[in-house]
């Protein structure tokens, strides 16, 4: 009997083992303090980079190359600082220093030493995470409440004037907690690291990706009522991003090699296969798609089929303005943010982005929310 049981063909055993090992090691690394690593490799890398730059600068061909790089990386005549936003609303930005709120007039306020953040509905509050903690904050930085959860990350807030929920991930699970911070619910898991999203125009329907790469939907009937599974997709490899259209009728799912759009009229989801896709975002108030793609070192922004902007290096973080008229993309190699109007007729760029947010790494835009 033992031999017979061991002979049964178990599908996907190898792939399942490797996926599980990735999850287990991730959980293990969060359990165990990471040992201090030597600074020598970083010092050596910096020294090599510096010597290369020096060598390039002292030789005339080298100087020509540097001049060329200076010309092609970054928008010329970019503003030296973020003096204002081109559209109504406020930005949430995460940098090495913490999470910032940027107002329409360009003023910046550091909320605190948080890693990630999200706006509440109507932009009245911010939910943020730091190590093992979910925090609700007022936009002036005052803390409303905190919730200790292991590995808390990727908060997303939804709801109405009367009732809200914050979804977030822990080390391996998906949770949801009412806006007052009480009654936290373990929704399910194990979950992939992709941030969960709430479906607009539906009462507390949460969407997340499980460790098999399947998109899952869960509804709450009312209040803290029973969670019940409402939908389940097939498995996709390399999940990277989930996003609902503002009317809740389309779901964008970006993976390492595909862009999948659920909810089109045909029964099967629309799927575009491309390994060059960097990011994608649905325009507020429509189903129009903006896409960042890169090829042979050149990145490009497309809205629909139109190419609106391109440049050398990799673009990141595609974000629509709340009115759907402007797009913001990051250009780390140029240390710039580029605001591109959706009709392609205007471009505004801002330089020195990292320094403005007191950051060694390139700041990340977490959201562009409604005007106060």
């Amino acid at each position: 009997m033992k031999r017979e049981l061991e002979r049964v063909d178990v599908p996907g055993e190898h792939e399942a083992r490797e996926r599980a090992w990735n999850v287990v090691t991730a959980a293990f690394s969060e359990r165990t303090p990471v040992p201090q690593t030597s600074h020598w490799p970083r010092v050596a890398a910096v020294a090599i980079a510096l010597s290369t730059v020096v060598a390039a600068t002292v030789s005339s061909p080298g100087r020509a190359v540097l001049d060329e790089i200076r010309e092609v990386v970054g928008v010329e005549r970019a503003q030296p600082a973020l003096f204002s936003l081109p559209a109504p609303g406020r930005l949430l930005v995460a940098s090495d220093a913490g999470v910032w709120v940027v107002s329409e007039d360009g003023s910046r306020r550091l909320l605190g030493d948080y890693r990630e953040a999200t706006w509440s509905p109507f932009g009245r509050y911010v939910a943020a995470t730091r190590e093992n903690e979910l925090v609700a904050i007022e936009p002036d930085g005052d803390v409303r409440w905190t919730l200790a959860r292991r590995g808390a990350r990727s908060p997303r807030w939804t709801g109405s004037e009367a009732d809200t929920r914050i979804a977030y991930l822990t080390t391996t699970r998906v949770h949801a907690v009412p806006g007052d911070g009480t009654g936290d619910v373990d929704v399910g898991g194990p979950s992939h690291r992709v941030a969960p999203v709430w479906r607009p125009s539906a009462r507390f329907t949460l969407t997340y990706v499980d460790t098999l790469g399947r998109v899952r939907l869960y509804d709450i009937d009312s209040g803290l009522g029973p969670w019940r599974p409402a939908g389940l997709s097939k498995a996709f490899r390399g999940p990277r991003k989930l996003e609902w259209s503002s009317d809740g009728r389309r779901l964008l799912f970006l993976t390492r090699r595909k862009l999948v759009l659920f909810g089109s009229r045909s029964r099967s989801p629309l799927s575009i296969r491309s390994e060059r896709l960097v990011d994608a975002a649905l325009r507020p108030g429509s189903h129009e798609l903006a896409v960042l793609r890169t090829r042979e070192g050149v990145s490009e922004l497309l809205v629909g089929k139109r190419s609106l902007f391109s440049g050398t290096g990799r673009f990141t973080a595609l974000v629509w303005s709340p009115d759907g008229r402007w797009l913001l993309l990051g250009w780390p190699a140029a240390d710039q943010w580029v605001f591109v109007r959706a009709d392609g007729k205007r471009i505004r760029a801002v330089s020195n982005v990292s320094a403005q947010f007191h950051s060694q790494s390139f700041p990340r835009v977490e959201g562009w929310c409604c005007a106060p």
């Binding site: 009997m1 017979e4 049964v8 996926r19 165990t32 599974p229």
Partner: protein, 169 residues
């Protein structure tokens, strides 16, 4: 991992933060954990979830684990109990298709051979007993403890399980 002594050393290493020891434990025990979950649930995706969550549960409890006990049976007991819970829960809640926006959930795998077909005819609680006895090599007494069942119930489930499998084979 050849001996119980080796395994104790690996557990101690993992408790102290060694990834390589954790990996040895994982790669040694994953195949049986996954297979056992699959044989009880007959659903590969569920088996993966269950085996994975069981490892994570074991990881969370690792600091409290008594190294004098063998790691495998401890882990497999978690796996089988979770697999039984999952099959019971599936009877109560069917995952349904979301209108036109999603594919239907993948159907449970069809039995690949006569043993699998025979197991499929058994209630999940009976499958679990057969899997624990013949795949994971628990004694009937250990199964009774692990599943919190009277010893006689374990024996009767084993007998009925073998009868059903015998018919299938």
């Amino acid at each position: 991992m050849r001996t119980a002594r080796d395994e104790r050393a690996r557990v101690r290493g993992a408790q102290e933060g060694s990834v390589s020891d954790l990996e040895t434990l994982f790669r040694t025990h994953w195949p049986r954990a996954y297979r056992a979950a699959y044989l009880v649930t007959h659903d590969a995706a569920a088996a993966e979830d269950i085996a994975q969550e069981s490892f994570l549960a074991a990881l969370r409890a690792l600091d409290r684990f008594d190294r004098r006990r063998p790691f495998g049976p401890w882990l497999h007991r978690i796996v089988v109990n979770r697999a039984i819970d999952w099959t019971r829960a599936r009877r109560l809640r069917a995952e349904v298709e979301l209108a036109d926006t999603f594919h239907a959930p993948p159907a449970p795998s069809s039995p690949a051979d006569d043993v699998l077909a025979g197991l499929a005819r058994l209630p999940p609680e009976h499958r679990a007993v057969v899997v624990m006895r013949y795949l994971l090599e628990f004694t009937p007494g250990e199964i009774a403890v692990a599943l919190d069942l009277p010893r006689g119930t374990v024996n009767s489930r084993l007998r009925r399980g073998l009868d059903a499998l015998g018919d299938g084979l």
